[in-house]
Symmetry: none
């Protein structure tokens, strides 16, 4: 039995784009993983009309309605008043809530303010939900078999209230579905190419396992999600279909699972094999070094990098021949390979990744349009390089070139051990 | 006259919390700034039922309904089909859309796939909206004086489509309130410090000018927004209050306006003064070079950088004395100043920015805890350096150190000319 949830986040700041609604995604994630079905997420204004109209709709369309926001002590916090009126409820002074408010104030060395004392008044028709981290208690209403819970909007307060109070009560009150998911992390192929590649595997999925393509620059995440009743069966089916897709795509495309980043996977590979790497970047301008060093502990395998943006720097620091630059241009197989070799020698690293391309928007020619990018990898067995045509957007070119280069290194390490 | 907008973002990934709905806040911000009133933001499932029910509700409650998501080439992308059915519309082959798809494929050296060819079929009843950055065209429907626009969910595609195509048409079609805003870009002070600093200026604001503090790592944007009817009056008042705040904070804190990035402002300064810069980075791992090179045309002033993650690299490539590393440690005034000097010489640049610190989470000691960061700047008049205690989070440490370093260079250039 599917229990449907509607999340309503209250606050003008969400509508004018001042605050990104991370509460919603956090709640959605927690609820889904606990077998609830999140049907709608809605952000609305701090107005009685908006809240009432959202409640009218939600109580007809979901069994659980979760509200966050508008419970603070200031004038623009109207949720409690609107709910009391909506459920036609008197208010009462909740001793427990007051003690909680007093405790929070005293711990900071302040007396309770009048505005905060008012927070201890709660609607008679609601069950009071403790707030361990703040002054605003939550409220649990029931109407025609629908549960409506109002929580504070402060993420830190809402999260603890959800985890410790609301979710356990919801699980006791409603039956939930079994839910499992697996995310396959891929790089190098766009959505439509991936879809073509795994067409047979996708067609073989049963109804209750869904596949979603979630692209972000340089990557596509393939999310398999299974819902149903039989825990063991779902798990093993999910595993089976995941492995079918992974073996079809191969490890050049599938670099990891469940939100792992490419630099994490690569870093672990380098650590395990006790290998070191350096970078010699032109068009990527330091992005590969920056990406490698986002991982804690990367100093164990990343020795350093040279960003040789000028031809001078390519010659002086990486030993690129002026003759080659003059003859083939800086964006060429010859130059990028010398850069990789030069970096490998300068840092005495096992591998060196080099890039040279036209990131744009200027600098393109008919022969070498914007997006033309050479990537080279110097390694223990020699140098390999390849040319890519990446597109017209500077930021994306830089990011894609970096991703391709990191994956090239990952594959070289894996294949070097076969 | 208020024009009310409902935003509907389509995608299971939003409901299960896998993706944070940044499209919504971006659209909300753009629309508000252009005088539209965003009434509701809704995230719904990739299902015909959910889309139809959301359309039923939205078309009754708003004059503009903006949808994003579900226009991709794969099976889970159903928005176009659902809309065609909802508006009872036949499909036709749109030549322009096909040419756009073909152009995107050919530029990457691929033929158009069958799935992507299908994207060129559009509903007869919709006006086709070009997509400069992707294969999915947008669709503009009208029904009972309500405009319904469907856009792709990929942020990069949606944003360009909103800015270049949808917003101009909406502004031509609907009347909007007079709205002006000015964003003051600041760096170096946190929200509460800023608030204290400009308390008097904030209290002097009239009702119809609102001040919002919008923090992001390393920066706080101060957004002054004015709504009303008298265009000229609003503009001049906004200018006056902006200048009051700016002169209170000074140019070390205020680096620019209206979403300018620090690297844009700095890049323009370097260009105008015909100065060059290089980098010698340790703890920031290439982030400063990467940030400088995000700006198109940065090769005119950025000569290159060295990421000297290992002590070896600091000695070999930047000429740091081993004696100093042994005596003071790599994270020290002595070493970071030599790094700056060494980078300046290696690249023959006017300026060189150097960083050396403990980004964490490991590597901290009692004397030099995680977050300890030295930043040096070598320039035409010599070397300056300073020590910062940045905190415990690796990612934020790296980002904050980079920001401080870039602002240090900006101030040096400005002050060098006084």
């Amino acid at each position: 039995m599917r229990t449907e949830v509607e999340i309503i986040n209250i606050g003008d700041e969400l509508l004018i784009g001042q605050v990104v609604n991370t509460n919603a995604s956090w709640m959605g994630s927690l609820l889904s993983q606990n077998g609830f079905y999140v049907k709608t997420i809605k952000a609305i204004a701090d107005s009685a009309e908006a809240i009432e109209s959202a409640l009218d709709y939600a109580t007809k369309n979901a069994q659980v309605v979760l509200l966050s926001g508008g419970l603070g002590p200031t004038k623009d916090d109207i949720t409690k008043k609107v709910l009391a009126k909506y459920f036609d409820s008197e208010m009462y002074f909740n001793e427990q809530s007051y003690e909680n408010i007093a405790r929070l104030f005293y711990s900071r060395g302040f007396p309770v303010s009048d505005d905060n004392r008012l927070q201890a008044f709660l609607p008679v028709k609601a069950q009071a939900i403790p707030n361990r981290n703040g002054t605003a208690y939550g409220m649990w209403f029931e109407k025609d078999n629908t549960v409506i819970v109002s929580m504070p909007g402060v993420p830190f307060e809402m999260k603890t209230m959800m985890e410790k109070e609301v979710l356990p009560r919801l699980k006791a009150r409603f039956s939930v579905e079994v839910y499992h998911q697996k995310v396959i992390m891929t790089t190098g192929l766009g959505e439509s190419m991936l879809a073509k590649e795994i067409e047979a595997e996708e067609n073989a999925l049963p109804d209750y396992i869904k596949l979603a393509y979630l692209p972000k620059p340089g990557f596509v995440r393939l999310r398999l999600s299974a819902r149903g009743t039989d825990d063991e069966q779902l798990k093993s089916e999910l595993e089976y279909h995941t492995s079918q897709i992974v073996s079809r795509l191969g490890e050049k495309v599938v670099y990891g699972f469940d939100e792992e980043s490419l630099e994490q996977v690569l870093g672990n590979l380098l650590l395990n094999k006790r290998l070191t790497v350096s970078t010699a970047e032109s068009c990527t301008g330091g992005t590969i070094a920056q990406t490698l060093t986002t991982k804690a502990g990367s100093s164990a395998y990343f020795l350093g990098g040279i960003v040789s943006y000028s031809n001078e720097a390519k010659m002086q620091l990486l030993g690129v021949d002026k003759v080659l630059i003059d003859k083939f241009g800086a964006v060429s197989k010859e130059v990028v390979e010398q850069m990789a070799k030069g970096g490998q020698q300068a840092f005495k690293s096992d591998y060196c990744i080099a890039t040279s391309g036209i990131a744009g928007p200027g600098g393109g020619t008919d022969e070498k349009p914007v997006g033309t990018t050479w990537i080279a990898l110097a390694g223990p067995e020699g140098i390999v390089s390849a040319k890519y045509s990446l597109g017209e957007d500077r930021g994306r070119n830089i990011f894609r070139a970096s991703t391709i280069a990191l994956n090239m290194l990952r594959m070289a390490i894996i294949e070097g051990n076969d």
